[in-house]
């Protein structure tokens, strides 16, 4: 399986590189400009936080408001806490990031996805849940945060052991 390279690989990469460097430069300013999507670096800080609100602030720098344009699909009762199929779709446009939070997990932030333009704003994944908890999906669209929450019951802890 070879990787085909298109005619101007270097030019595009340089352009892209310059753009992301600029973003990174801005990224670590304390008040990242609203448009900066979750910065490219792995949001280590946000993943370490226990509490959901703190994790959202660390990741996006502001709070989200519920919106019915964000459709979160999760089971009533998880068949097993270790493999909970959760997905989100949205009709919002200019979506730049989607993240999932499980409030009662040791760390609230479970997964965060960067959605470049041209990618359909929707993700399906399988998460672990320590116990019954609210699952929240947050969509960052055009610089603003929209969320949807659903309670998922778990009786067999999903974290093994």
């Amino acid at each position: 399986m070879t990787t085909t390279t298109d005619p101007h690989p270097t030019r595009r990469l340089i352009l892209q590189g310059a753009a992301s460097v600029a973003l990174l430069g801005l990224g670590n300013l304390p008040f990242a400009p609203a448009l900066a999507a979750a910065n490219d670096k792995y949001p280590d800080e946000a993943f370490k936080l226990k509490n959901e609100a703190d994790a959202i602030k660390a990741l996006y720098g502001r709070t989200a408001e519920p919106s019915d344009k964000v459709k979160l699909d999760a089971p009533e009762i998880a068949e097993n806490g270790g493999v909970v199929p959760i997905s989100v779709t949205t009709t919002l446009d200019k979506v730049t990031s989607i993240s999932f939070f499980v409030a009662e997990n040791p760390n609230a932030l479970a997964a965060s996805y960067r959605i470049p333009d041209g990618t359909i704003p929707g993700v399906a994944n399988r998460l672990k849940m320590a116990k019954t908890s609210n699952v929240t999906a947050i969509v960052e669209a055009d610089g603003k945060l929209y969320s949807a929450t659903k309670e998922v019951k778990v009786t067999v802890g999903g974290c093994g052991g």
Binding site: P75, E76, I77, A78, E79, N80, G81, G82, V83, P85, A124, R126, V154, T155, V156, G160
Partner: protein, 287 residues
């Protein structure tokens, strides 16, 4: 009729205890009619769950609960047993040290034959299960046998089951009293209570399929082995039939027998025979 026999049997065993005699062979073994048993077994489930399609019984708990079925279908889009399947396929084509492969041990090269296992081996006079046949094939070719409860065996049986997907379970009981005895012994094991919790397989899988035991929905006994081997989220790994029997025993606090013990081979024979006509759906994904 059942209540009367239960009463009769209750008093019979009480009488037995009072005299504390070695129990005399009270009842001559009535003629075993496996065909009638299988029909009665299937009808019990068809009547108890009239709106479950017959072939859906092989999907275990997912035939009993819509919410669980949706989660299962989502998992099936890219199932977690995918890796075991690929590993099994690779192992199946990798020759042993002596150059032979599993295909040389099995009819039709081992492809599309899982629905005929377990079978009654008249030379040995015992039931031979797929897992046993695989290990015997390895030993016959100078290879060490695999553990019955670990991933290698699960990968092999996963691949063989996959090649039989959709084919109907087709277990034969030859006209041989030893085969009928093995079937009866399997049936006895299936209905015998064991362990400190005093459960038999039937206590859960006949009396209360569809109900919950903690988080899990109990699977109906009909077609319960058709999806073997299974990837269980709870084990976050593959499970062979042997592993499933052993863990069920310890959950009722009964000390498990050694894998592929006669009782396990016979109960697999019984459960597979009564599921004749239902499709093979292995390998399966389960909670």
């Amino acid at each position: 009729m059942k209540a009367r026999t239960a009463l009769l049997l209750g008093s019979l065993s009480a009488a037995l205890v009072a005299f504390a005699l070695t129990s005399p062979r009270v009842v001559a073994a009535d003629k075993v009619d496996s065909v009638a048993d299988a029909k009665a077994f299937q009808n019990f489930f068809f009547q108890k769950f009239p709106d479950v399609k017959h072939e859906d019984f092989v999907n275990g708990p997912y035939s009993m609960n819509a919410d669980m079925k949706r989660q299962w279908q989502e998992k099936e889009e890219f199932p977690p047993y995918e890796f075991a399947l690929d590993a099994g396929k690779e192992m199946f084509s990798t020759p042993f040290k002596n150059g032979k492969t599993y295909a040389d041990c099995f009819p039709n090269g081992g492809i599309g034959i899982r629905q005929n296992y377990p079978y009654f081996d008249d030379k040995e006079g015992k039931v031979v299960t797929l897992e046993l046949a695989l290990n015997r094939c390895r030993e016959a070719n100078g290879e060490a046998p695999y553990s019955y409860v670990k991933d290698e065996m699960a990968s092999l049986t996963a691949y063989m089951a996959f090649t039989s997907r959709g084919k109907l379970m087709d277990i034969k009981i030859p006209d041989d009293p030893r085969a009928l005895a093995a079937f009866e012994n399997g049936k006895r094991y299936f209905y015998t209570r064991r362990g400190q919790l005093n459960f038999s397989c039937a206590s859960c899988h006949v009396q209360s399929p569809g109900e919950r035991i903690r988080a899990e929905i109990l699977a109906p006994a009909l077609g319960i082995l058709n999806a073997m081997p299974i990837y269980r989220s709870e084990w976050s790994g593959m499970g062979t039939t042997s592993r499933r029997f052993i863990t069920c025993n310890s959950q009722t606090r009964a000390v498990p027998l050694e894998p592929q013990a006669d009782e396990y081979r016979d109960v697999e024979y019984f459960l597979s025979y009564v599921a004749n006509g239902l499709p093979i759906s292995g390998p399966g994904a389960r909670p």
